[in-house]
Symmetry: C2
């Protein structure tokens, strides 16, 4: 009978290795070695290598939902709500960079059922963002001459790319990054005193 703690260790070692080398370049023996075990010994705790991938992705998806859903359904003013959501989303990524990297990078290697569940959850998550944005548009906080769909894509793209370049100990804290990103996205990059010739 597997005891939970050991399994958590295995999941975390797997997340670290999958994020560094990718799912397929990491062997079950690599994961076992990181815990000073023999390759076959892992199977006392897990059913398959794919189960590990699924558990990592599942957990990460949960982190995103736990961070954003309470905000989304709250009655905080829509601009403050979005500001906090940006901070929260970025926090999930920076708090467990390995898990986030696997979430964004390796989900394609899930079994078909797990992959479908993943895609479904991701769609739901994006809908939370679209709803917050539409709410802010209707409150007159965000401009209503843009499509909330592409606003959401822009926001999430800028944030999600973070796992490519963020490293702990860099010049900016997660909070400072979130602050700057939100400010630039909200206020725009254009100088307020300059009339730019956009078509």
């Amino acid at each position: 009978m597997p005891h939970g703690e050991r399994k958590t260790q295995i999941i975390e070692a797997a997340a670290q290795l999958f994020s560094e080398r990718g799912y397929h370049t990491t062997s079950v023996r690599d994961i076992a070695a990181a815990l000073d075990l023999q390759g076959g010994s892992l199977y006392a705790h897990i059913q398959s290598k794919e189960e590990l991938l699924w558990l990592i992705v599942e957990r990460a998806a949960e982190q995103f939902f736990n961070a954003i859903r309470p905000l989304a359904v709250s009655d905080i003013p829509p601009d403050e709500k979005l500001r906090r959501a940006v901070h929260a989303h970025i926090r999930v990524i920076t708090d467990d960079l390995a898990a986030a990297t696997v979430y964004f990078h390796e989900w394609r290697f899930l079994d078909e059922d797990h992959r479908n569940t993943f895609l479904e959850q991701r769609r739901e998550y994006e809908n939370l963002w679209r709803r917050m944005i539409r709410e802010a548009m209707e409150a007159g906080v965000l401009r209503n001459d843009e499509d909330p769909k592409y606003m959401a894509i822009l926001l999430l793209s800028a944030m999600n790319w973070l796992y490519h370049w963020y490293r702990p100990g860099g010049p900016l804290s997660p909070e400072e990054i979130a602050e700057r990103f939100w400010r630039m996205l909200l206020e725009g990059l254009r100088s307020p005193v300059f009339q730019v010739s956009t078509s």
Copy 2:
């Protein structure tokens, strides 16, 4: 002696498969099968599987440079220059989605030498963007109370994420996407008639 046309076919088939399944999940036999060849026959044209990955990444890097460098060194007004650069960068991604996907996703599996060259080229490319942004800031076109470094990251993040969601035949053309992204980034998401309470 390999003749060039066949090699191009091999590279393109490899780019397609690498982008769909990833580098390590695609076998040399898969690539050969896509061209109705036997696995071993590829080695009349290539030296190794890694060479294929390198050629795909190399080509993609060249596309980005060819699209942006002439703009960067031109004396087009800085705002128009950036607008065109956004269009050009997005065009490179959408014009060869498979190559762009491999470029962003699979470069980690390059040999050490190739990986170092890749990282060097990417740094140079990002510097082109930083220089264009700094130029626009100094011309008073972009706000000078933000760091050009993070402006560049924001711009490139939003654009680079495109390969995750863009599919040909979608509702927006590459030009329409570029237009919207540039407009949203430049003008900001905030409603012009609303005073948002940012700290």
